[in-house]
Amino acid sequence: MRSEYLPRLLRPLLAVVILIALWQLVITVTGVPRYILPAPLAVGRALIAERALLAHHAITTVIEILGGLIGGVLLGLVTALSLARFRPLRRTLLPLLLVSQAIPLFALAPILMLWLGYGLGPKILMAMIIIYFPVASTGYDGLRQTPQGWLDLARTFGLNRRQVLFRVQLPAALPSLASGLRMAASAAPIGAVIGEWVGASRGLGFLMLNANARLQIDVMFAALVVLVVFAILLYFGVDALLRLAMPWHRDGVATEY
């Protein structure tokens, strides 16, 4: 905290600089041609030149990401809570969830598109499916590891199962759930983009496919940069929110050793 404030912001900047340097290095060393991996400068130019285009498509993608994130997190939470609440459900429902994860989206995509059309719906659904599992999985893992003492206490307090679930197990599962939420946040943009590949007329994923087909690789990478920035912002945004939601939670303690 204290006067570290500047370095805190500087480090991610440093990361960006390192990344760009690495990128340039790869190009210089391997001589990979620019239609496969454009130079950072070319991408920078495309970012500026095509900012209107990028913004136009980015708006769609942002809506899809946020929709998918909210939907996926809610659905994941509901699943985790149901699994924790209804024990007999577990062995039946869990394999079904795994199936939902193990099916490559591209196989589902045409089906979803045909049912839901080519609007925002299926893309949000795709993002949801991707986000859903880390949330459900870590949430469930967190919920079933509540220390027995608190459950005992809850019992003597006369709580019913529902109250135990929401007031005891859920807060106790927060640190574990947070892990899943952070992961979900960084996966959300990819979910939306995959949705767009399968059928869309707008969005960064669409733009990338299009630019790729037209060999405007600089534009494609510019879209990629925007996407990556979203993912990073989302990750740190969710991280910050989680810190707010868990003010008691000291972390990074281990590194104080």
């Binding site: 003492g149 206490l153 006369g158 807060p171 008691w248 939670h249």
Partner: protein
């Protein structure tokens, strides 16, 4: 709301091959204060958990009847051997945790929680996180939480083990005052503590263990440490405990 008496029958507990106790029977009269003593590992905490209706990992059985025939659930407060503070509530929230968790929201609850906190000497720490408390402070919050419940049957597992001698004496007075007329079962390691507070003393001893009743002083409670009767009975009690040790 007169507190019920409890009648425990057929209390049995087995871990793996080892029977800790079997077919114990005992009576806890309404509005009485019973102290339960015994060697470490003799099964005191387990017995308390069983009376509280809590789960144990292995074979256990207990028949419990209340003197008024009503269920115990909802009239019981249990203070565990560990403090069991939840890290996501501040100290005040932990004191009123029962009310919070049950979803009872009222200004009077907050006031009551503050009052309890003040009684255990932690009024100023109301807004601290539990992680910022010392061991004895945590135990006092846990005590405050148990007192806050205002239950008619109170089960306490070594409630004063982590506080210093003086605070302990003060808390004795406090507990006696607030739990007068309740049916109290308290596990303790300190014979003097038992002799200060108990109307009835039970020692869990033997293998498998039996409950041996011991006479408590007849003088009014809480008894002074230099109460003559306390002093004399202490020797008897220690002897009784020691005898267990040798038997084991």
């Amino acid at each position: 709301m007169t507190p019920p008496g409890l009648h425990v029958r057929n209390a049995s507990l087995t871990f793996g091959q080892r029977a800790l106790f079997s077919k114990l029977e005992c009576e806890f009269p309404a509005s009485s204060w019973t102290c339960l003593l015994g060697r470490s590992g003799s099964g005191k905490s387990s017995l308390l958990r069983m009376i509280a209706g809590l789960h144990l990992p292995d074979n256990h059985h207990l028949d419990l009847t209340t003197s008024d025939g009503e269920a115990l659930r909802g009239r019981l407060a249990w203070m565990a051997q560990q403090d069991l503070l939840v890290p996501w509530e501040r100290v005040l929230g932990n004191v009123m945790l029962g009310a919070r968790w049950r979803g009872e929201r009222s200004a009077s609850a907050v006031a009551r929680a503050r009052e309890m906190l003040a009684l255990v000497g932690l009024a100023e720490r109301a807004d601290a996180w539990p992680a910022a408390l010392s061991g004895g402070q945590r135990q006092r919050v846990s005590l405050a939480r148990t007192l806050f419940e205002d239950a008619s049957v109170v089960l306490m597992d070594e409630p004063f083990s982590a506080v210093d001698a003086i605070t302990r004496l003060e808390l004795h007075e406090l507990a006696y005052r607030l739990l007068a007329e309740r049916t109290v079962i308290m596990v303790t390691h300190d014979p003097l503590e038992a002799l200060r507070l108990a109307e009835r003393i039970l020692v869990l001893k033997g293998d498998p263990a039996r409950l041996v009743p011991l006479a408590a002083p007849e003088t009014p409670r809480p008894r002074a440490l230099d109460d003559a009767e306390v002093q004399t009975r202490q020797t008897a009690l220690v002897a009784e405990l020691r005898e267990t040790a040798d038997a084991q």
